[in-house]
């Protein structure tokens, strides 16, 4: 920090500017996020009446959620599923991001390629999910190809209505959220760094690890956050394609619309949020990456 007079003046002017810049976003979120979220959290302590709530204070809904053994199973399963999807997305997505980020020349090519991955996302969520049926079903494309090639002799029921199918569809649907941040992180890398490392005698793997990977790490963390959060919140894919699979968001939906028990649904929602937040915070602490992100 400069100690000159002009430095001090620009400092306070800078601070004012900061607040001006922050104010719209903060106000926007305060009104449109804080209000509903606060409302829901408050409701979770209210008493139950179908389709409404009785103001008061009770912990019965939380008690019910926490003490119920199937809730614990459900929560653990949701977290496990999301972590699996995240890990697989990273595994599958990193090489792609590496290819696009490092090996493709030119911003144009990179941008277009990224957008190529993005365009299936324009199609409606419902349509995309439904479009998997002719692919994964027992009479579907995947089974036919595998049978034609000779890997399996009769159609497999594995590809649809199983945890496997849910995981696979989620990974294929969301790994692009992993690719985007990693590519962006790689964009800022100085290409000469790699050459310098090799000139200094580092093996290719060492160069990769110390230079490329470290640079992409913020992108990796952000990507993991994206995929984890979005898969925790996804309630339609497990419902449609999962068969007997059940995740936390589905319970929230069912309690809201079937039983019209708003306080209980809010309690589930709050617990879901807390768990997701905890995982996100843990992710952000990986290798003290927080500094690197912002």
């Amino acid at each position: 920090m400069s100690t000159s007079k002009s430095g001090r003046r620009s400092l306070s002017a800078g601070k004012r500017l900061d607040w001006i810049l922050l104010a719209p976003g903060l106000a926007w979120f305060s009104i449109f996020l804080l209000a509903p979220v606060g409302f829901i959290i408050v409701i979770s302590f209210f008493g139950f009446t179908p389709g409404g709530y009785i103001p008061g204070f009770t912990l019965e809904h939380y008690a019910r959620v926490i003490t119920d053994p199937s809730s614990q199973t459900l929560l653990l399963f949701s977290v496990r599923l999301s972590l699996t999807v995240t890990a697989l997305s990273l595994l599958i997505g990193y090489p792609v991001a590496y290819f696009i980020g490092m090996k493709m020349k030119g911003m144009v090519k990179k941008t277009l390629f990224l957008l190529l991955f993005l365009t299936p996302f324009w199609v409606e969520y419902s349509t995309r999910t439904v479009a998997w049926l002719p692919v994964l079903g027992q009479g579907g494309i995947l089974n036919r190809v595998l049978m034609g090639v000779g890997i399996i002799s009769e159609p497999s029921a594995l590809f649809l209505f199983s945890e496997f199918s849910v995981t696979m569809v989620m990974v294929l649907g969301y790994f692009l959220f992993m690719i985007f941040p990693i590519v962006f992180a790689m964009l800022e890398m100085d290409p000469t760094l790699l050459e310098q490392a090799e000139v200094l005698g580092a093996s290719r793997w060492k160069a990769f690890y110390h230079v490329t990977f470290k640079v992409s790490l913020p992108g990796v963390v952000v990507g993991c956050i994206f995929v984890f959060v979005i898969s925790m919140a996804d309630f339609a894919t497990p419902r449609v394609l999962g068969g007997a699979v059940m995740t936390m968001p589905q319970v929230v939906v069912m309690q809201t619309t079937s039983a019209a028990n708003f306080p209980l649904a809010s309690a589930y929602a709050t617990i879901l949020v807390v768990v997701t937040m905890v995982v996100v915070m843990l992710l952000l602490r990986v290798a003290d990456v927080r500094r690197l992100i912002y």
């Binding site: 389709g51 019910r64 027992q138 007997a244 069912m254 809201t256």
Partner: protein, 519 residues
Amino acid sequence: MTEEKPRRDFLKIGSAAVIAGIIAGVGGYYAGGAGAPAVPVTKTVTQTETETVTQTATKTVVTQTPTKTPTVTPTVTPTVTPEVITYGVYPNYQQPPPTTEPTLIKRAGISMGWPLETDTMFERNWSNYTIDAWTVDIGSLVGAGITGKSYEFDIYDDHSGLAGLLFDMVGGYKGFDIKNLPRWREENIAPVVWDPPSVLTQDPLMAEKGYIEPAWVGGREGMHKTAKCLWRFYNSDSVCYNPEFIERPPSEVNSWAEILNREWKGKASIQDIDVIVIAEWAAYLFRSGQIGPPEICVNDPTPTEINQIIDFLIDHKKAGQFKAFWPDLGFASSLHILREIVISDAWQPAVYFGREAGVPHYYGELDFSEGGYRCWYWGSGVTFREEKLMPSVYFLLDWKLSGEHQAFQTTLGYTDATYTSRESKEFCGPELYDWSFNGKKTYKPTEEAVPGEMPALIRNALFLPETYTWSKEKGTPDPEGNLRDGEDIKTRDSKTGTIQVFATYGTEITEGWKRFKAS
């Protein structure tokens, strides 16, 4: 300076994107207004069916109109006393619409395809009306209703499972006067709607709880006076199966337990909606005596009973009986069509969807002692959004009780509350009416409707009321004609095993369902 290039790129990209968006929006708007043909291209088969029906009816307006036509005043909702009206010559009974001004009616309902077609029918009859329909699934409809969105519509559809809820708890809409619906008279309304316990003699308590309390303000006292939710159509759920795999006629598939038959392990499916599944299996377990007599009522299980039902289902789930759980009708039909499952619980239209796709399906005829049918009804609530629209809203609701509407619905497998009216009989024609409601065979052999070499079992399972030309003249049923699976309406009604209501222990049901799926 190299900084210039990215900035110019950015400006170009940004402006291109915004311009593209604006062009798309404006172009789409004009294309929408100008371009596409006005007539919706629905399945042509339904078109011809309704065309023949409506042609005979509409434009000849009855001269013997009631002396007091409803006047459109902004503050007073007009009432028409039934005693003054004299019905015209069937099937031409139709009051003139209350207004000839362009009117917009907003309704919110379940999307099943055909409600939109009936909207089009109404708009074609009276061209000054436009109906804007917001169609979503049950869960969203209820959710939106609960959060007060019902106030933005004139008509808000409601399901028997939640009728009481939306009215009582949320004040979503107000009761409305039955007197404003000229068609709601005893000679028009089906007995099961007019006086449910007289038809459902095997369980009158359930009839009260299921059909009377949720529909009328004041329960029995308010019957046919003020409605919370105007009963429109109802259906009976049963077992839906594919005879290619389950080679039995519908008369031999009598029990919900057929879904649990190990022969179809891994090829059976039940709904993913907790309250519906519990209602079905509660009926099965109670009525077959596997669980003791219900404490409250068959369709309102207590937590202990719920747990018993869930445990029962978990055993079967663990044995791998269920392949999938279908969240909605579209998905269920697709599962059947793709032959991923061979048996599930469903209602008659699902059977017809399957047949439309060329896959034979039957609807099982359940015994009362094995659970009986699960009945539910859809109704309409009225929100009094705009006082001056009320006459038109009542007019629309009254038309939905008409024979024209009923005849159209019947070919899709739904039953309206007014199926006993003379109007319905005239619009359906004797053949369709007897086939749908009286258990008579069609006048022509099934072979004519479903040509080709196939066993009779499969042939009858491909018969579609929509594609068959129904006679308007009385004739004789052919011994080789098609018999509707599901028997005649009186038998079916008497075998109602359970009626879907909003259960007292809804939360426990959802928790139990969660336990079921987590196991």
